[in-house]
Structures are given as C-alpha cells and as structure tokens.
Amino acid sequence: MTAIEIGRLLRAGTSGFVVGCRVNQLEAPSFGALVRVPLENGYQIYGMIHDIHIDDDGLVRQLVTAEAVDQSVIQDNRINRNVPVEMSVLAIGYKQDGRISHLLPPRPALSLDVIYLCESEEICQFTAEGRFGYFRHVLRAAELPIGELLAAHVQQAGQIHRQDGNPGWASAATRELITLLRDDYATLMSVLGALGDALPADELKLGNNA
C-alpha cells in the first residue's frame, strides 16, 4: 500500500497548518478528509482538511480578462501554476510512541514536511480512539462551516467503519455531537441538518438502539 502524498507544508501553527500542493496532486484530498504529517521518532500529527483554495496570480488575472484564450494556454496555466493550491488543515490530534491522542499536537510540523492522506486503517484507528475528543477542535472553530465539515467527516469515516464491521460508529458519533451541542440549539440543528443530508437513511439504523 503506497501512501498518498498530497503536498508539503507551507505554514503551521499549533491549531492548524496550510499545505501547498501541485495540481496533479489535487485528485486525492477532499473536504473533511483526514491527513497526517509523519515526523521524526514516530511522532505524527493528524489534521482535517477544512478548506481548499486556489489563489490567483497576475497572469491569471490577465487571462481572465483576455478574449479567446487558447486551450493550451489555459492548460499550461493550470498545470504550471506560479502559486500552489492551498489546503487549510485543522490540527486534531497526534501520535507519539504508538499512542494516539486527541489533544492538540505539542509542536507543529516544519515547512516542506510531506503531508499524506490517511488510509482507511488509520482513519479507523484515529476515530475509534477514546470518545470523539477531536470533535472539540472542530466545534471550537467558530468561523468554519462546522455542520458541513462534520457531515463530510462522519460520512467518510462512517463508510469506512461500516466496511470495517463497525456499523454503529456513525450513530455513536452523532450521539456524541448531540451531547456536545445540546446547549447550542442553533449550531446543533445546523449540524444535524447537514448530517441528515449527508448520511444515507440506513446509515444510522444499526447504532440507534445501541
């Protein structure tokens, strides 16, 4: 199994980092996906992609206004970009000495560290650890579209857990979200609205009576 490399670190802080990637790497990552940054001595930082943005440069601005741009020019501009595609990632945990923690990583990664997409197995491992502690980091990020982000995450991870023989994960996660957001009616309803759209009707069935 080859690890899917999605880019290198542009800048980082304790609570998150930004990854720059080439356009040909843009196929794999998606909104809400889990990524990891392996560092020395088995130390590894986990993150969740919450934004993918494509910045313009001077040439793009000129091309946008130009008439009848040749298709090859457009392709060339897309592939050989001057500025990278940027992905904003929320730090949601780390692994040290083989143990996964949902606390914020003790120190960030350094520039140009390679970022990989988490494999199914790692997603299962990370999301099943403890009691959904990493939801804290997501819910704290008030400026993010929390509902959409969580819906995307629960949809992706739920499917993987299902295939892994743990069909109750999605409802356990939903229940935890309800507990965490009980006192914030507006946020809870927006999260549940998004989850309702994202999850197939039978996804929650099995865990419902658990």
């Binding site: 229940r175 549940l192 309702g196 009707a201 069935k205």
Partner: protein, 569 residues
C-alpha cells in the same frame, strides 16, 4: 443481595421532603404510577413508590419543535434520545441494609455476626437518608416484595393482591393486621364487599382470630347474587359450614330464604339509658331525654326501667268520683308527676320511643340468652355473621350493634383481666366487622357508641374493628387516626381521600394515586399497619380464590395464569 434485575434509571435529585427524582432510561410505558421500585446504593437498599412521571427536555426548544418533521427519522430518534427524557418521582418509604453480597467473602462473617446477635438482624427501616446521585433504580422483583411485605409461604401472611405491573404477590401480615383496627374504604361499586370477603376468608382460614360480622345487607353469610354481573357469589357459610354461624335478627327470621343457625332476640333488660341517648338523632329526641331516663332508672332500676316505661299508657285518663279527669295510675303522666319529671317531656319521650317499643326482636323474656351464645361461640373460636334480615333501618343497626358490642366488650375485658391477674387462658383475638361504619362512628355518635372505645383502647383487650365504609370523611377523625391498616379502593371525593390519608406521611403524593386507581379491583394498601403504601390489584373473589385458599395452598401461580388474569388470554 446483588440483583441482576434490569435498571430502569438513576437518581438525579430530590430529597426526603419532596420526592426523589429518577431519570428514566427505559421507555416511559414500562413504568406506571404506583410502581414499587428499589434504589441501590452501596450501603442501603431504598424502597419507594413511583408517584409521578414527568416529561422533560434539556432545552424547551427540543420539546417544542417537532424535529422528526425536519430530520430523517433515525437522526430525530438519536436527538430525542439525548435531549428528551422522562423523570420519575419516587416517594422513598423504607430502607434496608443489604449486607455484603452472597459471593463476597465477608458475607459468611456478616451472617455469623447476625446469628450470634452481635449485630441486629437487618430489617426495613423508615427512610432517614437519601441515596447518592446516580444510584441505580430498578423495579422491585418478587424477592423485594417478599422482603418487605412478608413471604407467601409463611402461614400468617395472606396474599391480598398482586403488584399492578408484574403481578408479584403482595402479602398482608394477618397477625399484625388484627392487632390494630383497620378499614376497607372505597366509593360504592369499587368492590369493597368482595375485598372484605377476601380478607374475612383469610382471617377465618388463618384461624387465629374470631370474626363477628355485622352484616347489614345480608351479604356475607349465605350465597348471594352479584349486583354487577348476576353471577353467584359464594358466601362464607358455604365454605366454612362448621366454623361459621349465621345469626338472624328476630325470631323466625330467614336470611336469603335460608334458616340461620340461630336467631337473635334481645332482652329488654339489656337495654340501657345510654342506648336510647345514642338514638337521639335517629328518633329526634329532646334535650330533656337524659333527665327523664335518669328518673326512670331511679324509679324502676337499670334492669326494668324499659319494660316498665313501655307498659305505661300514654295519655290514659280516668275520672275520679268527683267526675274530674286525671291521669290514670298506670299512665306516663302519673309516673311523671310522682317522680318530679316534666309531664310533657315524659310523654314526648314515650311516644318517640314507640318505634323501639315495637321492635319485634326486643322482647321481655327471650327464649334463650342468644347474646351469651354468640359470645361463647366467638370465644370458642367460631365466627359469627349477624344478618339483619329485613330489619335494615338505621335504628336496628345502631341499637343491635351497640348492645351486642357492649356485652362483648365486657366479656373480653373480663377475660383479659383474668388472663393477666389469674393466669387464665389468653383471650382469643376478636375482629368486629362494621359495615356502613359512618353510621356508628360519625362525629356525634362516636362518643356514645362502644365502637370508638374499641377503636381507641380495646386492642389491649384483644378486640379490634374492621371498618367497611364508603364515606371515610364521615367517620370521626379520632377513630380514623387509630386505623392501622387501611385498604382503599377508588375514592372520588376530596374529603374522603383526605380522611383515608389522615396522619400519613407523603399524603400529597398518595392523594393523586388514590384518585387514579382503577375503579375495580385496584386498591391502595396504606397506614402504619403495612410496611409502606402500595397499590395492588386485589385478588379476584371466586372459585379460583377458594381453590387457592383451601386447596393446594402453596400452589405457585404460573405465568399463563397471571397473563390470563391480566386479560391476555
């Protein structure tokens, strides 16, 4: 005593004054008001009664909005599971030290200490503390009920009914039951007389007590036809032909077309002035009555005053030799003037006593001392049902019960004193069953009849009352407060409910329960004669009941049977 019965919730708050609050973790339908629950903490087991169920929400908006319309069904289910809940209110009644678990090594030690009397045997105590937060709550199992109400196997315990939800048998300790006066209450048509039959059958079967029933409506002795479904109702005489005697009031009386074992006639000499004073309201007597009666007694003596007064002619006049009219020597007026009694008062009393003079069962010289026979039978361990036959008026009831009870009281007081001072045989406990008790025990009457004395003091003399009534509010408070065991069916009237609950803890909580009992076959056991209040589905009186009682006595009720009784056949 760990028990793996499923938990239904956990304690979230409350206290001794208000009820304990329990967060329910199972669907609300699985618990009902009046359910008997056990709260487990490390040190104590608490026994309580569900008095209310309340719907709650972590935020009122979750309850207000019908989110099932907005969200997929499963998601709404999850949301409601987390935000909407039911709270129980539990009235804690008793607590018990369970000791170490059976498989705990400390258990053997603990039992040994109890056996050696180094440590008191654990028994249910009134609640004095509260369980901690989050203590586990579960529905009581048959073992818990037996722990509190007694085991069915013991002879003194009589199954009075079954818990409403799970049908576990609930026992009444008959030995304790007869030590204090008790009452059976319920609005008309709630099955009071069936319940009384069941209790009486239990007492007779238990055979430690004699029973005297004042059967005003001729229901208890011979077989009867139920007024509800026209089915035959078995009388006690049918089942206890040799141990129970039916006494008819008046010579030649027939009860339900059958001849009673013997007939009761009262001697006029037994009638005392107090008996007449007691009838003041019934006969509408004047306030001069006591003076007149006193004069009669002083003229003729306590034995003969009544006969003498009856034989006087009211208003008889003779003419003397001068042609002047004056009262005849055997007239009331003549006696009045000779005894210094107001003539009109005496004549008034005489005419008002006419109803008493004409009573056919009140005779000058009865053929035999039937009251004495009744007392003898009761002392010998037999049971008496005194049927009033066609004498159903309040006058009959007041007069006969009072007269008979006074004699009984004298007899039992004498026996008890002989037992205490001379070491004679211990008197046999006696239970007097009073139907329509409010007629004898209302506020005005209570002071004058023997019954209030019995209710208050006679327990020392082995005589107690079993009061059967539909208007407990009419019964004198002082008598009500003496009732140890109260078995109450549905009551609608607020005053009646208040009367039944008088002097009990947790009245407010029990009040609603009493008003919401199913109108038939559900009764609330309460009073300090029972360990804790509990609503039960009473036993059904019929062939099955008798089979269980007299036949295979230890026969366990199988599940099919219980289901059938619950109506799931």
């Amino acid at each position: 005593m760990t028990n793996n019965l499923a938990s239904i919730g956990y304690i979230v708050g409350g206290g001794l004054k208000e009820s304990l609050k329990v967060r329910l973790t199972v669907p609300a339908q699985e618990v009902q008001e009046g359910g008997f629950v056990v709260i487990e903490s490390d040190e104590w087991l608490f026994y309580g009664l569900v008095t209310d169920l309340q719907l709650g929400a972590t935020d009122p908006r979750f309850a207000d909005e019908q989110s099932e319309a907005r969200l997929p069904e499963q998601l709404a289910g999850l949301l409601h599971g987390q935000t909407l809940y039911t709270n129980l209110e539990v009235l804690p009644a008793l607590m018990l030290e369970p000791g170490p678990a059976l498989d705990d090594p400390a258990y053997a030690n603990w039992i040994a200490e109890i056996d050696a009397e180094l440590r008191p045997k654990p028994r249910p105590l009134p609640v004095k503390t509260v369980p901690p937060h989050h203590a586990r709550v579960r529905l009581a199992g048959p073992g818990d009920i037996a722990q509190i109400f007694g085991k069915q196997e013991e002879k003194k315990n009589f199954v009075i009914g079954y818990t409403r939800e799970q049908g576990h048998p609930v026992c009444l300790d008959l030995k304790q039951f007869v030590q204090r006066s008790s009452g059976v209450f319920g609005a008309t048509g709630t099955g009071k007389s069936f319940l009384t039959r069941i209790v009486l059958a239990g007492l007779i079967q238990h055979d430690q007590t004699s029973v005297l029933v004042f059967d005003m409506h001729n229901e208890y002795g011979f077989d009867d036809i139920s007024s509800d479904d026209n089915k035959r109702v078995i009388g006690l005489k049918t089942k206890y032909a040799s141990r129970l005697r039916v006494v008819g009031l008046g010579k030649g009386a027939l009860i339900r077309g059958q001849a009673p074992d013997f007939n009761l006639e009262l001697a006029e000499s037994d009638l005392q002035p107090e008996d007449i004073e007691m009838l003041t309201r019934e006969l509408n007597l004047k306030e001069t009555t006591p003076t007149t009666l006193e004069a009669l007694v002083s003229t003729f003596g306590r034995q003969n005053w009544f006969t003498a007064f009856r034989e006087m002619r009211n208003g008889a006049i003779i003419e003397d030799e001068d042609g002047k009219k004056r009262p005849a020597p055997d007239s009331v007026a003549a006696w009045a003037s000779s005894s210094g009694v107001h003539q009109l008062a005496a004549e008034g009393l005489h005419s008002k006593l006419g109803r008493v003079f004409r009573l056919p069962y009140l005779v000058e010289n009865p053929a035999s001392d039937t009251i004495g026979e009744i007392i003898q039978a009761l002392e010998a361990g037999q049971h008496i049902v005194l049927s009033f036959g066609k004498h159903e008026s309040d006058l009959d009831y007041l007069l006969v019960t009072n007269l008979l009870t006074r004699r009984i009281r004298q007899a039992w007081e004498k026996r008890t004193n002989d037992f205490r001072s001379k070491g004679e045989r211990e008197p046999r406990p006696l239970v007097i069953v009073l139907e329509e008790a409010h007629k004898l025990l209302n506020r005005e009457m209570a002071a004058q009849t023997t019954f209030s004395t019995i209710a208050r003091e006679m327990r020392k003399y082995y005589v107690t009352l079993l009061i059967v009534d539909q208007r407990p509010s009419q019964i004198y408070d002082e008598v009500m407060s003496q009732l140890g065991t109260r078995i109450s069916g549905w009551l609608g009237d607020d005053d009646d409910i208040r009367a039944v609950l008088s002097g009990l803890a947790g009245r407010e909580a029990l009040r609603g329960m009493l008003a919401r009992l199913q109108s038939k076959e559900e009764v609330l056991l309460l009073g300090w004669g029972v360990p804790m209040p509990l609503p039960v589905r009473s036993r059904r009186y019929g062939e099955d009941f008798w089979k269980e009682l007299q036949g295979e006595k230890q026969g366990k009720r199988d599940q099919k049977h219980i289901l059938k009784e619950l109506g799931y056949d």
